[in-house]
Structure formats: C-alpha cells, structure tokens
C-alpha cells in the first residue's frame, strides 16, 4: 500500500452526534496494530462504524493509506463496499445460510485482486479452518466463529482490518490461540489493524500504538509503552492495574537456572525462561506493586533485577498508596506506601534502586512487539 505523504496509514478526524452522545475524534496511526481503548460507551464501536462507512460522520475526513474515504467538505463519502476495510464484528455475523467455505469466499469474489491479496489456502491454514470448511456457522463454537469471521474479512483483500472486540464471545481457552493468530497477521501478513478493546492485557500483547477514548473524545494517543507509564492517564487506564510497559528484546538464555535475559537500553531484565530466539522483540508489563524501592544498592537479596534510577514524579492519592514514576533508562512505576515515601524521604530527582522479582513477570504480561513498532 502506498502510504500518504505524512507516512500515516490511517488519518481520522471526524465528528458526529448520536442522540445525546457526541463523538469527536482525531488521530493518526502508522502501520502495525493500533488499539482503540476505552470503557464501554466511550464511542469505540461508533468510531469504527464511521471508519467502515456503516455510519456517516457529520464533519471531517478519513483516509486510509492515502485513499480518502470520507471528506465532508469535498463531498466524498465512499460506500462501505468500496472502502475495502475488513471488519471483524464482535458477534462474528457469519451468514447462516452459507457454509464456512461460502462465508470465507463471499468477499473474495467481489474484491479486485490487489492490496493485501490473500491466498485462500494460506488463510485457511493460518486460521486452522480446513476441517471446518463444510460446516454451517450454527454448529461452530465461539472461537471457531471468530476465526472464520477473521478469515472472511482477510480474504476480501482489505487495505486495513477493523476488529471490534473480536475476543468478547470467545472462551478463555481459545483466546490465547486467537491472540497468536492476530499476532501472525500483524507480523507475517503485515496488515494494518485497528483493534477495539477494553482489555488492557490484550492491548499490551498486541498493540504498537494506542488511542485512549473517553466520552467520545481522544484522551491520548501514542506508543503503548509511553501511554502506560503516564500517571496522568490513570483515570482512563485505571480499571487496569497500574504498571509500566517496557520494550525489550531477548538477549540470552540461562539454561542452568531456566531463566531468560531481556535487554532494554543498557539494562538486563531477568525473567523465567521464555522459549524464544535471541533478538525477538517483546513488550513486558511490570506491575507497579511488583516494584520495590531501596535507597542503597541492596546486597544479599534474592531479587535478581535491580535497576538504578531517578524519581521523576510522585503521585499520592487519598489512600495509603503512592505511585512513584522512575527513569531507569526506561519508564518504570513503583507502588509504595505513603509511610515508606515519608520514611525514605522520597522526592523527585532523588536516586533510588528499583527491585523487581523475576517471578513477577509472567506469561500474560508479555507481548510480542510488531515489526513496525517505532520504539525498542
């Protein structure tokens, strides 16, 4: 796809009133996976319906890969069937009167063989659909339906894939499987994806860029690592546990003790063994409550990860806790009691040592970074 002049794959600046609710959104996204995050009612689904052309904005402009899909001033409003945006709906929306094969090939027959042209067999294998081809949607499980829905959207040769909480109706056991499918789409197929979710775990695992929506407006947009370390965004990301996200690469394996070393900047983070080749780009979430602080370099301690850093910001709320934002070459957040804050005389500018237990970094706090990630 030919990117537009500014390098953005998706440029959105739209407004529309839905009854009492007003949506007014402006953001741009590069390739890779862009997550739209917000509570229910924030306007996420309304926004992607505007992108898909199922609803019409009252003002603004939408362009994808240099193609203008909507421009109120120029009177451009491309019909949904000509936008070539694959849409994976929350509820699948498979056609009940067609087999899985019929569903998968529905859009394929209608689309010109350009763009991210997908080979039928490749998609069927990627999504593990071969043995389902003759089945009817009614007989599929939630996870199977969603995989078919993803395949159907992919095979219509979209310029961009819109996914509206595709995991909402999927049971936990199949969720991980679909998450890896989406990762492969992002990394192997190199398809730009807009992914709507209110599950921060999924976003950290999948997204390169995050757009936070609240009450129909963009609160913040940027790299996931940057937004997650911003204490001021806590009211929006708040339902999710506080923590920082580090962009790391696999640096080496400690086979004797079953550990893996992850590099970020000049630092090394030791975590339980990950079966990944050296150089693999990952995103690691460090929960604030798993980080302790110490004024002097600790000795004789079981904690493997000790990073020297400087306090950037301290946020105290009404409760007994305080969040301390550190700069250890990357942003890190530590949650300590206000009593510790007082006894250690912590204040911005002070040098401290941050302690992270290796076992605190578990599988769900890891995500493979997209190849188009801007950082890391």
């Amino acid at each position: 796809m030919a990117p537009s002049k500014d390098g953005a794959v998706l440029t959105v600046d739209v407004g529309r009133r839905f009854g009492d609710f007003r949506l007014d959104v402006r953001f741009t996204a590069e390739g890779g996976l862009t997550a739209l995050f917000g509570r229910s009612g924030a306007g996420k689904t309304s926004l992607i319906n505007l992108l898909a052309g199922l609803e019409r904005p009252e003002r603004g402009r939408i362009s994808v890969g240099g193609h203008v899909l909507f421009d109120a001033d120029a009177g451009i409003d491309v019909a949904p069937e000509r936008r070539r945006l694959g849409y994976v709906f929350q509820e699948g929306r498979l056609f009940p009167h067609m087999s899985v094969r019929g569903n998968l090939t529905y859009g394929r027959r209608l689309s010109p063989p350009t763009g991210h042209g997908q080979d039928f067999d490749h998609v069927v294998d990627l999504l593990d659909l071969r043995r389902l081809l003759a089945r009817r949607p009614r007989t599929l499980s939630g996870g199977e339906k969603q995989r078919v829905a993803i395949g159907r959207a992919l095979l219509a040769n979209p310029r961009l894939l819109l996914m509206d909480e595709p995991l909402a109706s999927v049971d936990a056991a199949r969720k991980d499987e679909i998450l890896s499918f989406i990762e492969r789409l992002r990394d192997e197929v190199k398809l730009p994806i807009v992914y709507v979710s209110h599950a921060m775990d999924d976003i950290i695992r999948l997204a390169d860029t995050m757009v936070i929506l609240s009450d129909g407006a963009v609160v913040a947009a940027g790299a996931v690592e940057d937004l997650m370390s911003r204490i001021d965004l806590r009211p929006h990301t708040g339902r999710y546990e506080a923590g920082a996200v580090l962009a790391v690469t696999v640096a080496g394996q400690d086979l004797t003790f079953g550990l893996t070393e992850l590099a970020f900047g000049a630092n090394r983070l030791v975590v339980p063994r990950l079966d990944l080749p050296a150089g693999t780009a990952l995103r690691v979430r460090i929960r604030a409550r798993d980080v302790s602080l110490c004024l002097t370099p600790p000795v004789g301690i079981s904690v493997l990860n000790i990073f020297k850093g400087r306090i950037v910001e301290i946020e105290t709320g009404a409760g007994p806790m305080a969040d301390v934002r550190l700069d250890i070459g990357a942003p890190l957040i530590a949650r300590v009691t206000r009593r510790s804050l007082h006894e250690m005389a912590l204040e911005p500018g002070k040098t401290v040592h941050a302690l992270i237990k290796a076992v605190a970094v578990d599988r769900p706090s890891l995500g493979r970074r997209g190849t188009r990630a801007r950082r890391g």
Binding site: G53, P80, E81, R82, Y87, F89, P96, H97, Y106, R138
Partner: protein, 230 residues
C-alpha cells in the same frame, strides 16, 4: 361416478391457471411492497399499509365492483389498457387472476414483511463491508434468508386465489369456460335443480386441492429452513 367430468376438469384447470397467474404477478410486487414497509420510512407509509390491507377488511363484492369501475373497458385504467395494448381484462380469466391477486395480496405482503423484519440487518452490513453493493446484498443475503416467508406468502396467496369468489363474480361475472372457477362452478350447481351431487363432488375436490397445497407448503418450508439454518 369416480371419473372427473369434462366440466369439472375445465373448472379445476381454470382455477389453477388463475391462481398461478395471480401468484406470479403478486410475487415481485409483494416482495417490493414488503421491503418498502419493513425497511423504509417515507411520507405516506401508513396510507400505503392501509391500502395494501384494505382487501382483507372490505367486502369482496366491493373490491370486485371497484375493479370493475377501474379496469372495465370504459374505466380509467381499463380504457387505457385497451387503447394502448388492446387488452381487455373485464369478463375474462385475466380479470379473474387480477381479482384473486388483489384479494390475496395482503396475505402475501404480511408473510414476507414478517420474515424481512426478522432478518438481522447487521448481516447485510457485514456483507457490504465485504464488498457487496446493495443489490447483491439483497440477492445473496436478504432473499435467501426470507425464503421461508416468501414460500409461506406464495402458498397463502395461491390457496386464497383458488377460493376467491366474491370479487371474481362481481368483476368478471360467471362465464362458463372463461371465468367459472371452482368456487363459481360450485355456486352455480347449488343454484341448479338436481345439482346437489355435482356440488358435493366439487366441494370434495376443493378440500383435496387445499389439503395438497397446504401439505406441500409445509414440507417445502421445513426443507428450506433446514437449509438456511444449516
């Protein structure tokens, strides 16, 4: 006693022909009307809905008389039809088909409209995001999904046409071999001295025809919905 007389054959054949043409003409119009009523909002929608349903409530004789006024050789529509195309409908079997179609139309529209309203419009949206234009969405998604409703509407329309009496006799009269359908033949025999046995036989034929139509529709409907639900 057990063989069907030429007069009975004539009435049955005529009835089937009239009913068939009534269905063929109302089907596309019925789908279009049902779609307008189910999916569109426009000025005069309530009025259209009322007009469509009028034959259900009006005395059939009134409908027949209205058709006679409109479609008679000197009527506004009938006169135009004759002048432009040389077509006469009053007092012909074509007129009988029109009378049957008008009387059965609300039943057909109702059945199709109900099934249209049950179709999840979000499936149609999904089809559009996959590259299908409005017309293809209708043909490939909507139409197959409302097939059971269309079938029900068709059978109802067909059965209603077989039994149409009041509007027919008023509009196209009771002409042997031209407009004397099964119910009209039966009525004629009841008015004829020594016609009881003939009337009884026609009554039995009517019951058998109606039963066959209903059973066939039931079987078909089951097959179609099984195919749709998969």
């Amino acid at each position: 006693m057990w063989s069907i007389t030429p007069l009975e054959t004539e009435a049955i054949a005529l009835s089937l022909r009239v009913a068939l043409w009534a269905v063929l003409w109302s089907l596309p119009l019925g789908i279009a009307t049902a779609w307008l009523l189910a999916r569109c909002d426009f000025f005069g929608k309530t009025l259209l809905n009322g007009v469509v349903h009028l034959p259900l409530i009006l005395p059939p004789v009134a409908v027949g008389y209205l058709l006679l006024i409109l479609l008679g050789r000197r009527g506004p529509v009938g006169g135009w039809l004759f002048d432009m195309f040389g077509i006469t409908v009053a007092f012909t079997w074509k007129g009988a088909a029109i009378a049957s179609a008008v009387m059965a139309f609300p039943l057909m529209v109702r059945a199709i409209r109900l099934s249209l309203e049950a179709v999840d419009y979000r499936l149609e949206e999904a089809a559009r995001t996959l590259g299908a234009g409005r017309a293809w969405v209708f043909l490939s998604i909507t139409l197959p999904l409302i097939a059971p409703g269309i079938l029900t509407g068709t059978i109802l329309c067909f059965a209603r046409s077989l039994g149409e009496f009041g509007a027919t006799i008023t509009f196209v009269s009771n002409i042997a071999g031209e407009t004397r359908t099964l119910p009209l033949a039966l009525f004629t025999l009841t008015q004829t001295p020594d016609g009881e046995l003939g009337a009884l036989r026609l009554m039995i034929i009517s019951v058998v025809l109606a039963l066959v139509a209903l059973i066939a529709s039931e079987v078909l409907a089951r097959r179609i919905s099984a195919r749709i639900r998969g």
